[in-house]
Protein backbone atom coordinates (compact mmCIF):
# COMPACT_ATOMS: atom_id res chain seq x y z
CA UNK A 1 0.00 0.00 0.00
CA UNK A 2 1.46 3.37 -0.95
CA UNK A 3 1.71 6.27 1.47
CA UNK A 4 -1.25 8.14 0.01
CA UNK A 5 -3.60 5.16 0.18
CA UNK A 6 -2.57 4.63 3.79
CA UNK A 7 -3.30 8.27 4.67
CA UNK A 8 -6.63 8.10 2.83
CA UNK A 9 -7.62 4.92 4.66
CA UNK A 10 -6.50 6.18 8.07
CA UNK A 11 -8.26 9.51 7.64
CA UNK A 12 -11.44 7.83 6.41
CA UNK A 13 -11.39 5.60 9.49
CA UNK A 14 -10.49 8.42 11.89
CA UNK A 15 -13.44 10.52 10.71
CA UNK A 16 -15.80 7.53 10.64
CA UNK A 17 -14.76 5.78 13.81
CA UNK A 18 -18.25 5.39 15.30
CA UNK A 19 -18.14 1.76 14.24
CA UNK A 20 -21.03 0.59 16.42
CA UNK A 21 -23.31 2.86 14.41
CA UNK A 22 -23.05 0.49 11.44
CA UNK A 23 -24.23 -2.38 13.64
CA UNK A 24 -27.07 -0.55 15.36
CA UNK A 25 -28.22 1.48 12.34
CA UNK A 26 -27.81 4.73 14.25
CA UNK A 27 -25.58 7.76 13.89
CA UNK A 28 -23.15 9.44 16.29
CA UNK A 29 -24.88 12.23 18.22
CA UNK A 30 -21.97 13.88 20.05
CA UNK A 31 -20.74 17.45 20.03
CA UNK A 32 -17.91 16.74 17.59
CA UNK A 33 -20.52 17.02 14.87
CA UNK A 34 -20.60 20.78 15.24
CA UNK A 35 -17.21 20.73 13.46
CA UNK A 36 -16.77 20.05 9.76
CA UNK A 37 -14.42 17.48 8.30
CA UNK A 38 -12.51 18.66 5.20
CA UNK A 39 -13.77 15.96 2.80
CA UNK A 40 -17.14 14.89 1.43
CA UNK A 41 -18.36 12.69 4.27
CA UNK A 42 -22.10 12.48 4.90
CA UNK A 43 -22.99 13.31 8.50
CA UNK A 44 -25.72 10.73 8.32
CA UNK A 45 -23.12 8.01 7.79
CA UNK A 46 -23.42 5.78 10.90
CA UNK A 47 -19.68 6.10 11.48
CA UNK A 48 -19.30 9.85 10.92
CA UNK A 49 -17.83 11.82 13.82
CA UNK A 50 -17.93 15.20 12.07
CA UNK A 51 -20.09 17.07 9.59
CA UNK A 52 -19.78 17.19 5.82
CA UNK A 53 -19.03 20.83 4.90
CA UNK A 54 -21.39 20.75 1.92
CA UNK A 55 -24.21 19.31 4.03
CA UNK A 56 -23.42 21.75 6.85
CA UNK A 57 -23.48 24.71 4.46
CA UNK A 58 -26.94 23.76 3.21
CA UNK A 59 -28.13 23.05 6.75
CA UNK A 60 -27.25 26.59 7.82
CA UNK A 61 -28.66 28.15 4.64
CA UNK A 62 -31.84 26.18 5.09
CA UNK A 63 -32.36 27.06 8.75
CA UNK A 64 -34.72 29.67 10.09
CA UNK A 65 -32.03 32.02 11.42
CA UNK A 66 -29.46 32.32 8.64
CA UNK A 67 -29.40 32.85 4.90
CA UNK A 68 -25.72 32.14 4.37
CA UNK A 69 -23.12 30.18 6.31
CA UNK A 70 -20.18 32.31 7.44
CA UNK A 71 -18.89 29.46 9.59
CA UNK A 72 -18.71 26.82 6.86
CA UNK A 73 -17.57 29.25 4.16
CA UNK A 74 -14.77 30.47 6.44
CA UNK A 75 -13.76 26.88 7.14
CA UNK A 76 -13.69 25.99 3.44
CA UNK A 77 -11.72 29.12 2.51
CA UNK A 78 -9.22 28.35 5.27
CA UNK A 79 -8.69 24.73 4.19
CA UNK A 80 -8.62 25.71 0.50
CA UNK A 81 -6.09 28.43 1.16
CA UNK A 82 -3.82 26.07 3.10
CA UNK A 83 -3.79 23.07 0.77
CA UNK A 84 -6.26 23.50 -2.11
CA UNK A 85 -7.47 20.18 -3.49
CA UNK A 86 -4.94 18.21 -1.46
CA UNK A 87 -8.05 17.30 0.54
CA UNK A 88 -9.49 15.54 -2.53
CA UNK A 89 -6.36 13.52 -3.14
CA UNK A 90 -5.51 12.59 0.42
CA UNK A 91 -8.36 13.13 2.86
CA UNK A 92 -11.70 12.52 1.14
CA UNK A 93 -13.32 9.11 1.84
CA UNK A 94 -15.45 9.29 -1.29
CA UNK A 95 -12.33 9.95 -3.37
CA UNK A 96 -10.77 6.83 -1.86
CA UNK A 97 -13.87 4.78 -2.71
CA UNK A 98 -13.71 5.92 -6.33
CA UNK A 99 -10.01 5.10 -6.56
CA UNK A 100 -10.58 1.61 -5.18
CA UNK A 101 -13.38 1.08 -7.67
CA UNK A 102 -11.04 2.18 -10.45
CA UNK A 103 -8.68 -0.63 -9.49
CA UNK A 104 -11.26 -3.21 -10.53
CA UNK A 105 -10.21 -4.93 -13.74
CA UNK A 106 -12.01 -3.38 -16.70
CA UNK A 107 -11.09 -1.51 -19.85
CA UNK A 108 -10.36 2.06 -18.76
CA UNK A 109 -11.70 5.07 -20.60
CA UNK A 110 -9.83 8.30 -21.19
CA UNK A 111 -12.34 11.13 -21.55
CA UNK A 112 -11.60 13.11 -24.73
CA UNK A 113 -10.01 16.46 -23.96
CA UNK A 114 -12.85 18.40 -25.57
CA UNK A 115 -15.52 16.67 -23.49
CA UNK A 116 -13.37 16.91 -20.37
CA UNK A 117 -12.97 20.65 -20.85
CA UNK A 118 -16.74 21.08 -20.94
CA UNK A 119 -17.74 18.55 -18.27
CA UNK A 120 -15.33 19.91 -15.66
CA UNK A 121 -17.47 23.06 -15.45
CA UNK A 122 -20.51 21.06 -14.31
CA UNK A 123 -19.18 20.85 -10.74
CA UNK A 124 -18.99 24.65 -10.53
CA UNK A 125 -22.60 24.89 -11.70
CA UNK A 126 -23.61 22.32 -9.10
CA UNK A 127 -21.81 24.33 -6.41
CA UNK A 128 -23.50 27.56 -7.44
CA UNK A 129 -26.97 26.22 -8.18
CA UNK A 130 -27.54 23.25 -5.87
CA UNK A 131 -25.36 24.18 -2.88
CA UNK A 132 -25.67 27.96 -2.77
CA UNK A 133 -28.52 29.48 -4.79
CA UNK A 134 -31.35 26.93 -4.53
CA UNK A 135 -31.10 26.40 -0.75
CA UNK A 136 -31.06 30.17 -0.24
CA UNK A 137 -33.68 31.15 -2.83
CA UNK A 138 -36.24 28.42 -2.20
CA UNK A 139 -36.62 28.98 1.54
CA UNK A 140 -40.25 28.93 2.68
CA UNK A 141 -41.88 31.65 4.79
CA UNK A 142 -40.16 30.27 7.89
CA UNK A 143 -36.76 30.44 6.16
CA UNK A 144 -36.46 26.65 5.90
CA UNK A 145 -35.28 25.07 2.66
CA UNK A 146 -34.24 21.75 1.17
CA UNK A 147 -30.58 20.67 1.02
CA UNK A 148 -30.77 20.41 -2.77
CA UNK A 149 -27.41 18.87 -3.46
CA UNK A 150 -27.68 16.29 -0.67
CA UNK A 151 -31.26 15.44 -1.55
CA UNK A 152 -31.07 15.13 -5.31
CA UNK A 153 -27.44 14.50 -6.25
CA UNK A 154 -25.00 13.41 -3.55
CA UNK A 155 -24.09 9.75 -4.07
CA UNK A 156 -21.84 9.81 -0.99
CA UNK A 157 -24.91 10.23 1.22
CA UNK A 158 -26.59 7.25 -0.38
CA UNK A 159 -23.51 5.04 -0.12
CA UNK A 160 -22.15 6.11 3.25
CA UNK A 161 -25.44 6.94 4.97
CA UNK A 162 -28.46 5.57 3.16
CA UNK A 163 -27.43 1.99 2.44
CA UNK A 164 -25.81 1.18 5.83
CA UNK A 165 -28.70 2.75 7.74
CA UNK A 166 -31.35 0.98 5.70
CA UNK A 167 -29.58 -2.36 6.08
CA UNK A 168 -29.46 -2.06 9.86
CA UNK A 169 -32.60 -0.05 10.57
CA UNK A 170 -35.87 -1.80 9.73
CA UNK A 171 -38.27 1.16 10.36
CA UNK A 172 -36.30 3.30 7.92
CA UNK A 173 -36.79 0.72 5.19
CA UNK A 174 -40.55 1.33 5.29
CA UNK A 175 -39.92 4.90 4.12
CA UNK A 176 -38.12 4.05 0.87
CA UNK A 177 -39.68 5.74 -2.13
CA UNK A 178 -38.95 7.24 -5.53
CA UNK A 179 -36.23 9.55 -4.18
CA UNK A 180 -34.19 6.62 -2.94
CA UNK A 181 -34.49 4.91 -6.33
CA UNK A 182 -33.30 8.13 -8.01
CA UNK A 183 -30.34 8.41 -5.66
CA UNK A 184 -29.50 4.74 -6.12
CA UNK A 185 -29.47 5.35 -9.87
CA UNK A 186 -27.01 8.23 -9.47
CA UNK A 187 -24.87 6.12 -7.15
CA UNK A 188 -24.89 3.22 -9.62
CA UNK A 189 -23.82 5.55 -12.43
CA UNK A 190 -21.01 7.00 -10.30
CA UNK A 191 -19.83 3.51 -9.28
CA UNK A 192 -19.91 2.23 -12.84
CA UNK A 193 -18.15 5.27 -14.25
CA UNK A 194 -15.57 5.13 -11.44
CA UNK A 195 -14.57 1.67 -12.61
CA UNK A 196 -13.98 3.01 -16.11
CA UNK A 197 -12.82 6.59 -15.47
CA UNK A 198 -10.47 7.84 -12.75
CA UNK A 199 -12.54 9.76 -10.15
CA UNK A 200 -15.42 10.90 -12.37
CA UNK A 201 -17.37 12.38 -9.46
CA UNK A 202 -14.39 14.49 -8.34
CA UNK A 203 -13.72 15.63 -11.91
CA UNK A 204 -17.19 16.58 -12.97
CA UNK A 205 -19.71 16.69 -10.13
CA UNK A 206 -18.20 17.39 -6.71
CA UNK A 207 -19.02 20.90 -5.43
CA UNK A 208 -16.46 20.55 -2.66
CA UNK A 209 -13.72 19.85 -5.19
CA UNK A 210 -14.94 22.84 -7.18
CA UNK A 211 -14.66 25.07 -4.12
CA UNK A 212 -11.18 23.88 -3.14
CA UNK A 213 -10.06 23.98 -6.78
CA UNK A 214 -10.61 27.73 -6.90
CA UNK A 215 -7.85 28.03 -4.29
CA UNK A 216 -5.30 25.74 -5.97
CA UNK A 217 -3.51 28.62 -7.74
CA UNK A 218 -3.16 30.68 -4.56
CA UNK A 219 -2.94 28.00 -1.88
CA UNK A 220 -0.04 28.24 0.56
CA UNK A 221 1.05 24.68 -0.20
CA UNK A 222 1.25 24.06 -3.93
CA UNK A 223 3.41 22.62 -6.67
CA UNK A 224 6.33 24.45 -8.22
CA UNK A 225 8.41 23.78 -11.32
CA UNK A 226 12.02 24.86 -11.44
CA UNK A 227 12.35 25.68 -15.13
CA UNK A 228 16.13 25.36 -15.17
CA UNK A 229 15.77 21.69 -14.24
CA UNK A 230 12.74 20.91 -16.40
CA UNK A 231 13.59 19.06 -19.62
CA UNK A 232 9.97 19.18 -20.87
CA UNK A 233 9.99 15.40 -21.14
CA UNK A 234 6.24 15.35 -20.42
CA UNK A 235 6.44 12.50 -17.91
CA UNK A 236 4.60 14.57 -15.29
CA UNK A 237 1.60 15.08 -17.58
CA UNK A 238 1.73 11.48 -18.75
CA UNK A 239 1.45 10.27 -15.14
CA UNK A 240 -1.30 12.72 -14.18
CA UNK A 241 -4.49 10.77 -13.42
CA UNK A 242 -6.57 13.95 -13.77
CA UNK A 243 -5.17 14.60 -17.29
CA UNK A 244 -3.61 17.96 -16.47
CA UNK A 245 -0.82 19.53 -18.47
CA UNK A 246 1.35 19.74 -15.36
CA UNK A 247 4.29 21.44 -17.03
CA UNK A 248 2.04 24.25 -18.23
CA UNK A 249 -0.19 24.58 -15.19
CA UNK A 250 1.07 22.72 -12.10
CA UNK A 251 -1.59 24.33 -9.94
CA UNK A 252 -4.59 23.75 -12.14
CA UNK A 253 -7.95 23.82 -10.29
CA UNK A 254 -8.36 20.21 -11.42
CA UNK A 255 -5.22 19.01 -9.62
CA UNK A 256 -5.97 16.82 -6.58
CA UNK A 257 -2.33 16.96 -5.38
CA UNK A 258 -1.92 13.20 -5.53
CA UNK A 259 1.81 13.64 -6.18
CA UNK A 260 2.11 11.19 -9.10
CA UNK A 261 3.70 13.94 -11.23
CA UNK A 262 6.31 14.68 -8.57
CA UNK A 263 7.18 10.99 -8.34
CA UNK A 264 7.45 10.77 -12.13
CA UNK A 265 9.72 13.80 -12.61
CA UNK A 266 13.19 12.41 -13.44
CA UNK A 267 15.09 15.64 -12.74
CA UNK A 268 13.42 16.78 -9.53
CA UNK A 269 12.20 19.92 -11.24
CA UNK A 270 8.74 19.55 -9.76
CA UNK A 271 8.52 20.26 -6.06
CA UNK A 272 5.58 18.78 -4.30
CA UNK A 273 3.55 20.81 -1.85
CA UNK A 274 6.55 22.80 -0.61
CA UNK A 275 5.64 25.40 1.96
CA UNK A 276 8.81 27.43 1.29
CA UNK A 277 8.50 29.47 -1.91
CA UNK A 278 11.80 28.50 -3.53
CA UNK A 279 13.50 25.15 -4.00
CA UNK A 280 16.70 25.10 -1.95
CA UNK A 281 19.23 25.10 -4.74
CA UNK A 282 17.72 27.95 -6.67
CA UNK A 283 18.14 31.61 -5.96
CA UNK A 284 16.84 32.73 -9.31
CA UNK A 285 13.15 33.57 -9.04
CA UNK A 286 12.51 33.84 -12.75
CA UNK A 287 13.41 30.19 -13.20
CA UNK A 288 10.56 29.02 -11.02
CA UNK A 289 7.01 28.67 -12.22
CA UNK A 290 4.14 27.93 -9.90
Amino acid sequence: MDKRKLVQALFAFATNAHVQGFYHGAIYRGKLKSACVPGLNCYSCPGALGSCPIGAMQAVEGSTEYGFSMYVTGFLVFVGLLVGRFVCGWLCPFGLIQELLHKLPARKIKVPKKADNILKWVKYLILLIFVIFLPILTADKFGISTPWFCKYICPAGTLEGGIPLLLANRPLRQAIGFLFSWKLLILALVILSSILIFRPFCRYLCPLGAFYGIFNPVSIRRYQIERSKCTKCGLCSAHCRMDIDVCKNPNSPECIRCGECVKACPTGALTGMAIRPEPQDSRCNDKIAD
Binding site: Y43, S44, A59, S69
Partner: protein, 50 residues
Protein backbone atom coordinates in the same frame (compact mmCIF):
# COMPACT_ATOMS: atom_id res chain seq x y z
CA UNK B 1 7.46 36.98 -11.38
CA UNK B 2 8.31 38.95 -8.26
CA UNK B 3 5.09 40.95 -8.71
CA UNK B 4 3.07 37.76 -9.11
CA UNK B 5 4.51 36.36 -5.91
CA UNK B 6 3.88 39.60 -4.05
CA UNK B 7 0.31 39.72 -5.34
CA UNK B 8 -0.27 36.11 -4.34
CA UNK B 9 1.08 36.78 -0.88
CA UNK B 10 -1.37 39.67 -0.52
CA UNK B 11 -4.24 37.46 -1.70
CA UNK B 12 -3.21 34.80 0.80
CA UNK B 13 -3.12 37.27 3.68
CA UNK B 14 -6.49 38.69 2.65
CA UNK B 15 -8.09 35.23 2.36
CA UNK B 16 -6.58 34.02 5.61
CA UNK B 17 -7.92 37.05 7.45
CA UNK B 18 -11.31 36.73 5.75
CA UNK B 19 -11.56 33.03 6.58
CA UNK B 20 -10.85 33.67 10.27
CA UNK B 21 -13.32 36.55 10.38
CA UNK B 22 -15.96 34.41 8.68
CA UNK B 23 -15.41 31.49 11.03
CA UNK B 24 -15.45 33.65 14.15
CA UNK B 25 -18.55 35.55 13.02
CA UNK B 26 -20.30 32.27 12.21
CA UNK B 27 -19.36 30.76 15.56
CA UNK B 28 -20.50 33.88 17.45
CA UNK B 29 -23.79 33.78 15.54
CA UNK B 30 -24.34 30.22 16.71
CA UNK B 31 -24.03 28.54 13.32
CA UNK B 32 -22.06 25.64 14.80
CA UNK B 33 -25.08 24.85 16.97
CA UNK B 34 -27.28 24.80 13.86
CA UNK B 35 -24.85 22.41 12.18
CA UNK B 36 -24.82 20.23 15.29
CA UNK B 37 -28.60 20.21 15.57
CA UNK B 38 -28.90 19.05 11.95
CA UNK B 39 -26.03 16.56 12.03
CA UNK B 40 -27.03 14.64 15.17
CA UNK B 41 -30.28 13.55 13.56
CA UNK B 42 -30.46 11.29 10.53
CA UNK B 43 -30.92 13.57 7.54
CA UNK B 44 -33.57 11.63 5.64
CA UNK B 45 -33.20 13.83 2.57
CA UNK B 46 -29.43 13.30 2.50
CA UNK B 47 -29.77 9.54 2.47
CA UNK B 48 -32.54 9.59 -0.11
CA UNK B 49 -35.62 9.02 2.01
CA UNK B 50 -37.03 12.41 2.97
Amino acid sequence: MKNTKHRRKLIQIFLLTASFLFMITGLLNGEAQTVLAKAVNICLECIGIG
